[in-house]
Assembly symmetry: C2
Homo-oligomer: 139 residues x 2
Amino acid sequence: MDFELSIDPNEPVPIWKQIEEGVRRRIAAGGLHAGDAVPSVREAAVRLRVNPATVARAYRFLVDAGLLSVRRGEGTFVAKLGGDAAEMLRREELGRAARRYTGTAAELGVSIDEALEAVEDAWRRNVPADRKREGQAHG
Amino acid sequence: MDFELSIDPNEPVPIWKQIEEGVRRRIAAGGLHAGDAVPSVREAAVRLRVNPATVARAYRFLVDAGLLSVRRGEGTFVAKLGGDAAEMLRREELGRAARRYTGTAAELGVSIDEALEAVEDAWRRNVPADRKREGQAHG
DNA sequence: CATAGTGTATTAGATGAGCGATACACCTGG
DNA sequence: CCAGGTGTATCGCTCATCTAATACACTATG
């Protein structure tokens, strides 16, 4: 896989966490399927310009979460998840993001309608046409 | 004012930034109006259990952003913003949050409809009834 | 002027997370 | 066994953050 995760060392959130979330979301989005191999810690480290230990830490958390599976000496692979686990994971991630958003919206004292409108608006600007095709690949 | 900002030292984002965003959102939400005094750096430091220098840094950024105004020797006050500047600030904050959300949603490969549905769902759970009253205080 | 309240600036210190380097344990294939 | 691949564990170093103490300039009050 390309493993084109967007890593920003300037972000306050640690690099290993950015990697973790990136992989988690890719699995949730269906870009990584059960049994697929993820890059080795060293290879990923080279591509992302970070230390192998940093990648290893991200992988470790994903293994603990049951999303990745390690075959020692061979590599790291996407774990076999039960049935629609990927789908559930996707909903979970989406729900988490939605809660964060509504929390902020509530702090700002906006109405639900305004909050929804802002999402629609942001969607039109943020998501270029080529992204819209992917939306129907999962369901 | 109560200044009950939620500060979490465990968050990856620095404390001074949490304070800054808290005040910014409160102004955007209309909880702080032009001319209102914010707590002194020392008083806020006592309430939030942090160092005065930490509060001072947050205030400094808010002053640079034009949201707070300092009357040396007297205190720090919410700056007089032109007309509907608070409204614009609110939209800005909301837009920023919405973009972050849609960005995540796009990464997950969800459709716009699903993204909106997730917001509605999160809103019902997250925002208790007492918060809904505030929604019509603006606009 | 004296006092006490503001914000600001500076310095120094402590802490802890993040990260890099290295060595180790395991598997595959020769 | 050996060589090269894997993930894992450990040790320090670096650095941003936060804290603490202090001093300063300014303003209101008496």
